[in-house]
């Protein structure tokens, strides 16, 4: 038991370390110094870059294109003084970490270089950022989709949500029609192009259409009978349909369609394809929780059911769900490496663990390009699996 806890601690620290590296990637590997003094002026080139991207700061003048050629009074460099994409032609043609390197005053390429002298260590650090982005991002999306669906299905079941028929039919039909009308007529009519405006219009049309239809249908006597919303059946059927989709094959097909590969799309697709496992787990967990005495007590006390769900039932189910979703984290990181290894979906100029591995195939002698990314990937998957196994 003690040993297990120790392993869990190691795994947790691994993931935390990965997250830290991802957040501070630019401060760990960069071909610009962190702080430098040029002709008496103190500059913070890395930090300043953020300011420029956010539009908060102007360019330093004179502009420095290549810091390694600049005479500085003094400078503090990052641990790895190279950038992921930056070439170092003097050390090109696959320099081994232990072999001879011609770096002059600069630090060695600790983990070797590739054909164009790009630093492998810097590439790994950049790859960490992408792995973390894809891993956490897609898990977040699958949680966002899976928690509401699984929560409602598990907590209310098929009989927990009761309302007159016109309520359900009105919202379903009216909402759909509203969104359809918005997308077919209103958006081209008002020539909307920004995503925010389109989403806002779609949501308001859904609400308006739903409310309108609900009020209209409430005059029909046949629809006044109170019925339960079959949430559980609907969600289960949705899961069943999704499970039948060949995820990986579809992913390859979808990603190859998209003209401009981007990480955001990969994150979105992986997240959407993974919601069923989240929903299924949460549903099973809430089925168990809702029959526990304290929920019964809350119900008897007259606490509204939505409040019971959000304040009492869900918080108890989220802990185990988060533990299990670290499995999904490992899976998503693996999938990202897999895709960039194949060279699809991820932009070609991004350096990732998978793209380094792919590069190693063209030059088998460069063992450092195959071993180090693989070790990082394996460590991450093992850490995620360890945490996901749960006590």
């Amino acid at each position: 038991m003690k040993e297990k806890r120790k392993r869990h601690t190691v795994a947790r620290w691994w993931l935390i370390g990965l997250l830290t590296v991802a957040v501070f990637a630019d401060f760990i590997a960069n071909d610009r110094p962190l702080i430098a003094s040029v002709n008496g002026e103190t500059r913070f080139p890395v930090l300043h870059e953020y300011g420029e991207t956010l539009g908060l700061a102007e360019h330093y003048s004179p502009v420095v294109r290549s810091w390694k050629r600049v005479e500085t009074d003094w400078a503090i460099w990052p641990v790895v003084p190279y950038s992921a994409g930056g070439t170092d032609l003097k050390n090109g043609n696959y320099r081994s970490p232990f072999g001879e390197q011609d770096t002059g005053d600069r630090a060695r390429h600790w983990l070797g270089t590739d054909e164009l002298g790009r630093d492998v260590a810097a590439g790994l650090i950049r790859g960490t950022r992408i792995a973390v982005l894809v891993g956490f991002g897609s898990v977040l999306i699958s949680l966002l989709l899976g928690i509401p669906l699984g929560g409602i299905a598990g907590f209310f079941g098929n009989h927990g949500l009761r309302a007159p028929r016109y309520h359900w039919w009105g919202w379903a039909v009216g909402g759909t029609l509203g969104v359809l009308y918005a997308s077919l007529s209103l958006i081209p009519f008002y020539r909307l192009e920004s995503t925010v405006a389109i989403t806002g219009l779609a949501i308001s049309c859904f609400a308006l259409g739903g409310w309108l239809f609900r009020s209209l249908l409430s005059f029909i006597p046949a629809l006044k009978k109170e019925t339960a919303f079959p949430a559980d059946t609907l969600v289960l059927q949705g899961i069943e349909l999704f499970v039948n989709i060949p995820a990986l094959v579809l992913l390859i097909a979808l990603i190859a369609i998209i003209n401009q590969p981007s990480i955001g799309i990969v994150v979105l697709i992986i997240g959407v394809l993974r919601w069923p496992s989240v929903a299924r787990y949460l549903r099973a967990e809430l089925l168990r929780i809702r029959s526990l005495p304290y929920i019964e007590a809350a119900r008897v006390n007259g606490i509204p059911k939505w409040r019971i769900l959000f304040r009492h039932a869900l918080p108890n189910a989220l802990g185990p769900l988060l533990i299990v979703s670290s499995f999904a984290l490992g899976g998503a990181v693996l999938l990202e490496a897999f895709l960039s290894f194949l060279g699809i979906g991820i932009p070609a100029d991004e350096v990732t663990w998978g793209s380094l591995l792919r590069q190693s195939r063209t030059h088998p002698q460069a063992w450092w390009m195959a071993v180090f990314p693989g070790l990082l990937l394996t460590g991450t998957v093992l850490a995620a699996n360890l945490l996901g196994e749960e006590g």
Binding site: L184, N244, L248, I257, Y281, R361, G374, L377, V381, N385
Partner: protein, 462 residues
């Protein structure tokens, strides 16, 4: 039991129908021009030299392939867009007409404009039209209203381009944008692209590959043989090794064998197989490190008249590494799950009874525990069919084997949609069938499982 099986069988067509819609949708949103890729190369070459002739042959091809039909059984749109837009074969022209109609709302005027531009673009090639004809040809493909206005203004003021200018001013003047606010529902009946496509698929005609114009079915058939061979051996290996390992680890729980195998299996399960495969190909199939033990790529050629032993040796040396890389993750997965459920079973009363009866430990394990603990094996069996394709994409890529995974990759990268879509459909069918089989097999091995109730669904699907 039977009713559950029937219900699942009813779901199957529904899932497949949705999958077919999805595939058709993918086909429809795919960038690129499907008709153009089917035209004979000789025709495509006339595109720049004889545009009018090319346009005519394009239209014939589009009609022959059914691309001038409506997309689906019905369409929902605003009233400004006509219900005949699908008759325009070329996607770029369709986009242009759509954009102009949406910006003016006046379809009849847009139609007149379109006819005038076509008249100019594909009419007689005269000296007078030396400036205006190229502009008109570009206009046919220009879908930005502002750029269209600029191009129309740049046309010379002569006899030839007068109709275009007049028609365009009609488009812009008679603004009827309010028609955009009216919704329109149109029913097209069975004469539509989806219907035809589905009928063709159902009758076994999957079309021709865009890349080399060979029939999709024969390409997939050829690749499938290799994938089945590869995966068949891998699955066999998985069961041969993981059954004893999982059972004995559980039977001798806490022993050294159990502890070592559990740790080893956990690590094996976490090792990404494509990393291992890359390492293995780098080290053992290339002379880079002096360990060139295995032939590098492909399945190897067997010379004519070779004895079966030579044939086996050649195939074996080519298959050994890919099969190992394909098998070890599932091997680790099955063993771990088998151990876990066998440990649970060993605590049951019937095991104690069997032991009291004097049965040996291996008798208990193989005769009593295995059957009850065999659920993970069945789960894997369900996942086996989709894994046939998915799992071998990477392995076939890395070892350069001409199987279905490799085919999927090359087709997806080369935008060879007939093949990609057929593979997605096939995989969906296999996934659904695999899950169904696993569910049914589950019920047969364990009569206690009452299928159909909601709780069992979650248990077996988890």
């Amino acid at each position: 039991m039977l009713s559950y099986a029937l219900r699942r069988l009813l779901y199957l067509p529904l899932s497949l129908f949705l999958l077919s819609l999805l595939c058709f949708g993918l086909r429809a949103i795919t960038p690129g021009d499907p008709v153009e890729s089917q035209l004979p190369p000789a025709e495509s070459r006339t595109a720049s030299s004889k545009p009018a002739a090319y346009d005519a042959s394009y239209r014939r091809a589009a009609a022959a392939l059914g691309y001038d039909l409506p997309t689906f059984y019905f369409s929902l749109n605003n009233a400004a867009l006509p219900d005949t837009l699908h008759r325009i074969g070329r996607p770029a022209e369709r986009r242009m007409l759509r954009a102009l109609t949406l910006s003016s709302g006046n379809w009849p005027a847009v139609q007149d404009y379109y006819l005038a531009v076509r008249q100019l673009a594909f009419g007689e090639d005269t000296e007078a039209g030396i400036n205006s004809i190229p502009v008109a040809r570009r206009l046919l493909l220009q879908d930005d209203p502002k750029a269209v206005a600029a191009a129309v203004n740049s046309l010379p003021d002569d006899q030839l381009s007068q109709p275009v200018k007049a028609a365009f001013s009609q488009v812009m003047d008679g603004s009827q944008r309010h028609r955009l606010l009216l919704p329109a529902f149109r029913w097209h009946g069975a004469q539509n692209q989806y219907h035809h496509w589905l009928l063709r698929i159902l009758s076994g005609d999957f079309g021709n590959s865009y890349l080399d114009r060979r029939p999709v079915a024969s390409k997939i058939g050829q690749a499938m043989r290799w994938t089945i061979l590869l995966n068949g051996i891998a699955i066999l290996l998985v069961y041969l090794v993981s059954l004893p390992v999982g059972l004995y680890a559980a039977g001798y729980r806490g022993s050294r064998f159990d502890r070592y195998s559990t740790t080893l299996l956990f690590i094996l399960f976490g090792l990404p197989s494509f990393w291992i495969a890359t390492l293995v190909t780098n080290y053992f199939t290339t002379p880079a490190f002096g360990m060139d033990f295995f032939p590098s790529m492909g399945f190897g050629d067997i010379p004519d008249g070779a004895s079966w032993w030579t044939a086996l040796k050649i195939r074996g040396s080519h298959l050994f590494l890919p099969v190992m890389c394909l098998a070890y993750p599932s091997f680790a997965y099955v063993s771990r799950h088998l151990r876990r459920s066998a440990v649970k079973e060993l605590d049951q009363a019937y095991v104690t009874t069997a032991r009291l009866k004097g049965l040996s430990r291996s008798q208990i394990l193989w005769k009593h525990v295995l059957r009850n603990a065999s659920f993970p094996i069945i789960t894997l069996l369900g996942g086996l069919f989709p894994a046939l394709l998915a799992g071998s994409v990477l392995i076939e890529r890395i070892f350069n084997l001409p199987g279905m995974g490799q085919l999927l990759y090359t087709a997806a990268v080369g935008r060879d949609w007939p093949i990609v879509i057929t593979l997605v459909l096939l995989n969906g069918l296999l996934t659904a069938a695999g899950l169904l089989l696993a569910d049914l097999a589950y019920a047969f091995t364990d009569p206690r499982v009452r299928l159909g109730s909601a709780t069992t669904f979650t248990n077996n699907a988890a």
